[in-house]
Symmetry: C2
Subunit: 784 residues, 2 copies
Amino acid sequence: MGEESSLIKESTSMNPNMEEEVEERDPESNPLNEPLLKRNRTLSGNPLALVGAKVSYIESLDYEINENDLFKQDWRKRSRAQVFQYIFCKWSLAFLVGLLTGVTATLINLAIENIAGYKLLAVVSFIQKESYLTGFLYFTGVNFLLTFVASVLCVCFAPTAAGPGIPEIKAYLNGVDTPNMYGATVLFVKIIGSIGAVSAGLDLGKEGPLVHIGSCFASLLGQGGPDNYRIKWRWLRYFNNDRDRRDLITIGSSSGVCAAFRAPVGGVLFALEEVATWWRSALLWRTFFSTAVVVVVLRATIELCHEGKCGLFGEGGLIMFDVSDVTVRYNVMDIIPVVIIGILGGLLGSLYNHLLHKVLRLYNLINQKGKMYKLLLSLSVALFTSVCQYGLPFLAKCTPCDPSLPEPVCPTNGRSGNFKQFNCPNGHYNDLATLLLTTNDDAVRNIFSTNTPLEYQPSSIIIFFALYCILGLITFGIAVPSGLFLPIILMGSGYGRLLGIIMGPHTNIDHGLFAVLGAASLMAGSMRMTVSLCVIFLELTNNLLLLPITMIVLVIAKTVGDSFNPSIYEIILHLKGLPFMDANPDPWMRNLTVGELVDVKTAVVSLRGVEKVANIVTALKNTTHNGFPVIDGGVVASTGVANEATELHGIILRAHLIQVLKKKWFLKERRRTEDWEVREKFTWVELAEREGNIEDVAVTKEEMEMFVDLHPLTNTTPFTVLESMSVAKAMVLFRQVGLRHMLVVPKYQASGVSPVIGILTRQDLLAHNILTVFPHLAKSKKKQ
Amino acid sequence: MGEESSLIKESTSMNPNMEEEVEERDPESNPLNEPLLKRNRTLSGNPLALVGAKVSYIESLDYEINENDLFKQDWRKRSRAQVFQYIFCKWSLAFLVGLLTGVTATLINLAIENIAGYKLLAVVSFIQKESYLTGFLYFTGVNFLLTFVASVLCVCFAPTAAGPGIPEIKAYLNGVDTPNMYGATVLFVKIIGSIGAVSAGLDLGKEGPLVHIGSCFASLLGQGGPDNYRIKWRWLRYFNNDRDRRDLITIGSSSGVCAAFRAPVGGVLFALEEVATWWRSALLWRTFFSTAVVVVVLRATIELCHEGKCGLFGEGGLIMFDVSDVTVRYNVMDIIPVVIIGILGGLLGSLYNHLLHKVLRLYNLINQKGKMYKLLLSLSVALFTSVCQYGLPFLAKCTPCDPSLPEPVCPTNGRSGNFKQFNCPNGHYNDLATLLLTTNDDAVRNIFSTNTPLEYQPSSIIIFFALYCILGLITFGIAVPSGLFLPIILMGSGYGRLLGIIMGPHTNIDHGLFAVLGAASLMAGSMRMTVSLCVIFLELTNNLLLLPITMIVLVIAKTVGDSFNPSIYEIILHLKGLPFMDANPDPWMRNLTVGELVDVKTAVVSLRGVEKVANIVTALKNTTHNGFPVIDGGVVASTGVANEATELHGIILRAHLIQVLKKKWFLKERRRTEDWEVREKFTWVELAEREGNIEDVAVTKEEMEMFVDLHPLTNTTPFTVLESMSVAKAMVLFRQVGLRHMLVVPKYQASGVSPVIGILTRQDLLAHNILTVFPHLAKSKKKQ
């Protein structure tokens, strides 16, 4: 890791006005009339990250409850009925998220199965007429067109819709405000793009995008519609805050996984294990409810489609590798191949992570050159894929069908099914065409097929595996919505089945099960999940007897993989420069205090409880800070000490200060206001809005000399740490409680000491940023 | 709730010396030479709870890392090899926990199946000879004897082994040090007692005790053996702290659930959803590993027993209601009975919780009278159970066997199997005997049996349901190891099957499935778990198609139940007075600051950085506090302000102060010590010990005048909150980070203010304790 710094550094040149501003401070804003600690500003890394293909300015989310007077009043005022409304809304939203995700997943599947199905039927009819070239041109042309549509949409309208979206969701739930991720455009592009890209036969899945789609639905529902056409419904206003949106997006992501794999418990666990940073018991339950809704929707549609009303969409579409009819037989000695699969899965998974990292960095360079380059890259990958899928099966020898199989089973010529005839004479099938010239879902189903030990020649499996290794590396980074699950499953099943053929004589595990285990091991080796993968595979394969060996494979593959590099999602997070906060602090953080961190940081810009407008404007214009401590002078009540004392009243958000300026809520004299004065002017609903820019606010010269009472808008209960607190513990606090700003207070108690000596944000606590300022720690880290 | 207060109040009279001590403070210990805030001590509830049958003094656990100089040095010194050792040990321990739990579970099952099996075989042979009275005496006698053994062990040797142990484990993982829970005696009594009680046919399960057994193994392994015979192995010393023990016990509890239900994923989720308070991703993975080990062990034993080497232990023993062969058929209209089951389950579950609460309070009164009463209570319940189980089947009419069933299936006379002959003529069976005169596991298997819609008469099911409702209420509180899962499953399956018979004509869901759903709904209605129960039922029934309807039933039952009362485990926690900290703060806590809390609390007893021995001894003798803030006077480095400043150096634990006194690490003059001086005297391994009592320390008069440098032993990074922090947020911090002490610092910055104005502990933040001091809050709470 660490290579991402170069990326960020390159991009900072695009935002020169954001850094190196010298803060000019009004002497009046400092009640002690002395310069606050002067420190040079080096620590705060530039809060920039690659979202979609654009480098954006990243903010943090407010997961902390902003306990100011207005909030507390509203809280007290809320009647039983309102609380009931809120709870009812929460559950209705969970229901709607599940419903919409389930319906959308069905529609996507329906579209893909029909588009890809009719495409393949046409190709097969050309082949049967032996007009191979026409077939090739048709196949490639349609794929090219589909990719073009998907890619143009992504490139021109919603760059953030490219890729799976899971790393960005993970970052969002960690507290990083990834911009433009949950809009209506993104949702639309993601749905259409995903249909296009998957129908085009590219080596990518619809699973990752479905997770993103679920999250988009959740976010849009929570805020009452797309940004420009929001329903300003009273009930929905309760959800206009980052905390409730976080919960909704968690629900959305697990609905997405559930819809992708028809795995309700797996979906919940995926959100829990991989995506979410905070988790509450109540959320577990609501998430579970929404995945139940998804399952019911999917079940209803499948029943409907059984009656043949869905075109080519029959049994297929939703991956369901049902191996429940297989009698799993294994004994103690079969542990050996299982362990081998696990180890190989870990090795291959980490190798894949390593190579994909390199490829993605290369792609980033290409993509930065412009939209045309992005489009060309996508189209050339599509072309290469089509050529390989169509051309390679000609290399395979035709195999005669097992006479025991009836005619429609071997050979098949339709869309789905094993034993594709392709270019072979009647009564023969082409095993490579069975794997390549089909939809990805069918390919997985075919390679997982059980009780068919002789169906595939080793050479075909080797070609299949090699091809999908290459495709898996080059396809992921292109500008279309793409999931990582399916490419990894395809690769893994290839090497698993290969291993099955090699080990065949020495074990009685079925080759299909080898393929399943291979897929599981590679997923664990690359994505490093265990429990959720295990449950997803359990729900996919519908066979409980597989559970113990799946568990062993997953645990081994993850262990092996972890000893080489981090998980693929973490790699993508770092590559994008998203300031994701890890769960465990590094050991060296115990030897560093937060006092040392703020030492090298910019001085604190603080405001007084009743502040001059001019000072507020200056503070807002000259800094990019999003929170300002509010400090009062005054008498300490309990001890009656003189008025040299200072009091930390709390912290006020930039957004609220801008609201004050916009509404021109100014006082002629320096005085405290009454409750009703504030309530007349502001509602907590308005205060939940984050929009507003200081540049849009016009303040006249007379107004500049007026005052604002900041007390009622100040969050009086900020989380604080002593300056002697270790960075490790501060990080735990920051992450566990979900903070945006953490105030550092002095450990000394004396007159003349400022009650706040610094503010730490997410950027200050990231290991990477700290190590650039304290290089000696990096050395000691390496030594260990 | 709230009734538990009376219990606690009654018990406080037993510990009069613990409360109302007036703290005498040495004026020297306060560097500002002024009395610290004087407040009367009313808030801290008495930290007493009912553990086993005894009222004990409860302490909190140190889940926070105690970052003092020694710790940090050790941390820095740890080599790569030691880190590797630590990780290796962690995994080995997880493996061993799984292995031992799996083996023990097998042995328990083996013992129960054989004891109960031979008992029932003998009874059947008496009945076949029509010597009903002898049969009755034999049956009752054996059951009486078995209960006697279980109960005597529990009453005399390990009172904490009674009950399931799950609430206590839940409290432990929340940070409450429940004493005498994880010793070798408890483990032994739990194993033998569980075998006795379950073999005696009492209405209780081995599932809860297995969770406790798993946790005991984990704790014992982590500390290297029973208290008196510990292995002082160097590698194990790393685990001698509360944090690692917490992780181990989490692993143990999930292994226990896994062993009980053969549900590896369900076990992990049970620990996650119900038991654990803190959870980390790494723990998820290790827990998963240990449940995988359990499953492999169970599988191996079952294979072994298939060969008939285990006496009467054949297929049975491990509950496995395999309904995978049933073709589940349901359509959209079947949602109606499913919803009805869910609602009824919620109603009955909460009713059961309510009644059990009443019964347990009554039992507590009986149990407090003495050991003899406890024993008598257990034995009378055993007698009642035996009489009912043997006598009631005589009320049922004999049913002729379905002629399509072959002879050994109907009627059966052996131990397990459906269609028991009992007192019926040949070719007939007694359906009530099939349900009552068998082991509990077999009863569940029989009532879950599918494709047997006519097997049971409604009257028999009604008798069965009524009997197990009564037994479920009166059995749980007696002094034997007892699990709650099985009684609830029995009750639930009874009403589920009854509902199936009633609804029969209107639905095509099998009666066996009705029984399964009834059991699931009652569990959700009483225990209020969703995801873990769903997975456990999935793994028990081995049928994925049941998943959607199970989910619906669980969600509805939990929702209905939650609107009446809390879950059964929470009720037991409150009844025992364990200071469990809930996840969500009450709304009224936002309107209360921690400053107000410490206002009514005892004054802070603080120590100076270099303190006189006499002061330390006084502080330790006169208070029961477990942590003391260490405060220094001195110059503020950055501003150069005069030496009237005070500095909060950190917090020191009682245990460490006692160690200092015991080792007589005293200085002649008031000076700071060097690093090596401390390291010579103390190792961090010693500091991990919590034992030691101030009464055992003898300090001479000369020594009293000497000094101790507390700096190297002080945790310099305590978590602090400003006095203006709301109780709600403070509670979130306390729970999320896992604190034992939270320091309250003033929001004022001035000379003459103490840098600490209070210390909050678990007791101070419990809603119940706060409401007794601020009764008006309780009123406003009710109003809402």
